[in-house]
Amino acid sequence: MKTKLFGWIDERTGAEAIIKSQLTEYQVPKNLNYMWNFGSLALLVLVLQILTGIFLAMYYKPSAALTYGGYTVAFDSVERIMRDVNFGWLIRYMHAVGASAFFVVVYMHVGRGLYYGSFKGPRELLWIIGVVILLIMQGAAFFGYLLPWGQMSFWGATVITNLFGALPVIGDFLQQVLRGGFAVSDPTLNRFFSLHYLFPLLLAAIVGGHVHALHVVHSNNPTGLDVHEGKGTIPFHPYYTVKDAFGVGVFLTIYCYIVFFNPQMGGYFIEVDN
């Protein structure tokens, strides 16, 4: 079933062997429960965030300049996305709900690791990469939160940059590096937008390392015992492709319900002030 084109590529990349060893015939414990679905869900949400973000960036304008209406260019551009851009409301809600969903999914993922001891040897590096991912996620979300330039954005950024200012000796310096001024202002908004675009791309690269680190040491399982020696494993495909796809279906059902029927989640996902 190898096409000529794939054969040509395979000869030059060894793609078939990689796909076999890393995906279709990659060995996974057969006793994983649904707590092991959250890694693939986190990957899905990361892709969704990058995709919706690229489209939002086509209309979003990171400027604190005042407009005739008495608002700011940034705030007005978000309002325009909600009111005038075709499906802008949908793409913005997908992005905002996705940001919260990302943390829900990753907390489940991390909680699974804590509960089943997945952080213990030989998976220490996998865990450490995960912690780095979590920190970058928090950065990305924090930068994104400033972008609408609403009241919550502004004071949120003020509070968190002040937090850095409280550090002894280097505090003032750090604060000015973050803000590009003496208060949260136009240069802050510009650099936050730049970094908000950068961080998820960093995440994509680091998640690649995370999955690679996983594939070296293999998945843990609910028993906590190593099952990779005997008959304890099954190939990833079709068993876990189907199980992960089922998880994706459940996740998307909940996600779509929130996006379409309750996108602000009573102010938990999007504050009324923004």
């Binding site: 489209f55 209309y59 325009r80 009111r83 075709n86 499906f87 802008g88 796809a245």
Partner: protein, 199 residues
């Protein structure tokens, strides 16, 4: 129980699941491509009102319509006289080649020649039909004002600086230009004696 998989049942499930996935992915593409089309406020800005009496005789004004430049010229009697006498130099003297150079109000040979509802006010899209540059206004006849940037028998009109297309004073393209067509017209109508609604 046997180890034999029911292949036809399995294939059906593959195709059904794959098909549903493809439909869902296709549907998900709609809002994303849709968002790249002009937004509602961009569409709302697709009509422009303009008062042609603000253009002095002999003057050319460039206004914006849908983000594109539009020429409005107040043609003096001399300019109008320059419309005649060089039909053999034109690719499409009667503006019949494509829809964009024609208009339903062009119901007389006169209007086909002047390419405007009121002869003195020419209103055309200011993009060269070659590759879209804005041609330079060189309305007077001959080389007196323009040197050898125009041919010796220059009837007066526009000269595109990008690749040298020439148009006469009715924005009709002159033979030998890289541009294939006369400058495009856009729909417009007079709301009053001097107010036009473009778009």
């Amino acid at each position: 129980m046997t180890d034999q998989a029911d292949q036809s049942r399995r294939n059906f499930l593959y195709v059904a699941a794959g098909g549903m996935g493809a439909v869902a992915a296709g549907a998900a593409v709609v809002p994303f491509i849709g968002s790249m089309l002009p937004a509602a406020d961009t569409l709302a800005a697709s009509k422009t009102e303009f008062d042609v009496s603000t253009v002095e005789p002999g003057q050319l004004v460039v206004i914006q319509w849908q983000g594109k430049p539009v020429f409005v010229v107040n043609r003096t009697p001399e300019f109008l006289a320059q419309v005649d006498g060089h039909d053999d130099m034109l690719k499409d003297p009667n503006s019949e080649a494509i829809d964009e150079v024609s208009a339903e109000w062009m119901d007389t040979p006169e209007k086909r020649k002047y390419r405007s509802i009121k002869p003195e006010y020419l209103i055309v899209v200011a993009s060269c039909t070659h590759l879209g540059c804005i041609p330079l206004f060189k309305p007077t006849k001959g080389r007196k004002d323009w040197g050898d940037s125009v041919p010796e028998d220059w009837p007066g009109g526009w000269h595109c600086p990008c690749h040298g297309s020439l148009y006469d004073i009715s924005a009709r393209v002159i033979n030998g230009s890289p541009a294939p067509h006369n400058l495009h017209l856009m729909p417009y109508k007079y709301l009053s004696d001097t107010k036009v609604l473009i778009g």
